[in-house]
C-alpha cells in the first residue's frame, strides 16, 4: 500500500473535528456527536480492511 491512506484518514479527521466545532458552537450537539461517529465508522472501515491485509501477510510470512 502507500502513504495515501494516511492522508485520507488525516483529512477525514480534520474535517470531522472542524464540523464538530462548528456544530457545537451552533448549539446542535447531537448532530456533532453523530458526525464524529460517522467519520469514525468510515475510517474504521478502511483501517479494519488494512489491518486484515496485514494479518494475512504475517500469516503467510510466518506460516501460522
Amino acid at each position: 500500500m502507500d502513504i495515501n491512506i494516511v492522508f485520507r484518514i488525516a483529512a477525514v479527521g480534520i474535517l470531522v473535528a472542524v464540523l464538530n466545532q462548528v456544530l457545537i458552537r451552533a448549539g446542535r450537539e447531537e448532530q456533532a456527536m453523530m458526525t464524529t461517529l460517522a467519520g469514525l465508522v468510515v475510517v474504521l472501515f478502511w483501517v479494519i480492511q488494512y489491518i486484515s491485509q496485514l494479518f494475512n501477510t504475517v500469516q503467510t510470512l510466518f506460516q501460522l
Binding site: M1, I3, V6, A10, V16, A17, N20, L54, T57, L61
Partner: protein, 128 residues
C-alpha cells in the same frame, strides 16, 4: 533506498497524529495504527527474503525443519501480540495490553510444547 521511505512515512504519520491528538484522540490513534501497518508492509518483502535465508541456513546446518517452523510461528505470534499490545498502550488501555501479553505468552508456550518435550526426552536419554 527503502529506509528513507520508511522514515518519511513515519515522520508524516507522527506529525499528523500530533496534529489531531487534541481535537480527536480517536483519529490520532487510528493514524498511528495505519502508519505502523504501512511501514510493516513496506518491509514485508525484505522480511520474506530474510526468513528464506534463515531457512536455507538451517537446512544447510542440518536442523530439523519442524523445529525451525515452530521457531517461525513463535516469532509470528510474538510480532502480532506486540502489535496489539502497543496499540492498546497507545490508546491508554494498559490493562487490556497486559491481557494480550499474557495470551501471547500462553500461546507461545503451547506452540513450543513439542520442542520442550523433545529436549526433556533427550536429557533423560543422556542421564538414564
Amino acid at each position: 533506498m527503502e529506509i528513507i521511505q520508511v522514515v518519511a512515512a513515519g515522520m508524516i504519520g507522527a506529525v499528523l497524529s500530533i496534529l489531531l491528538k487534541k481535537h480527536s484522540p480517536e483519529f490520532s490513534l487510528l493514524i498511528g495504527i495505519v502508519t505502523g501497518v504501512l511501514i510493516f508492509m513496506m518491509i514485508a518483502d525484505s522480511l520474506k527474503d530474510v526468513l528464506a535465508l534463515l531457512k536455507e541456513m538451517a537446512d544447510t546446518a542440518g536442523i530439523n525443519m519442524a523445529y525451525l517452523s515452530i521457531v517461525m510461528k513463535v516469532i509470528g505470534i510474538a510480532y502480532i501480540a506486540e502489535f496489539g499490545i502497543q496499540l492498546c498502550a497507545d490508546a491508554g488501555e494498559k490493562s487490556i495490553a497486559s491481557k494480550i501479553e499474557l495470551a501471547g505468552k500462553v500461546l507461545i508456550m503451547v506452540i513450543s510444547a513439542p520442542v520442550l518435550l523433545a529436549l526433556m526426552n533427550m536429557v533423560l536419554h543422556m542421564v538414564a
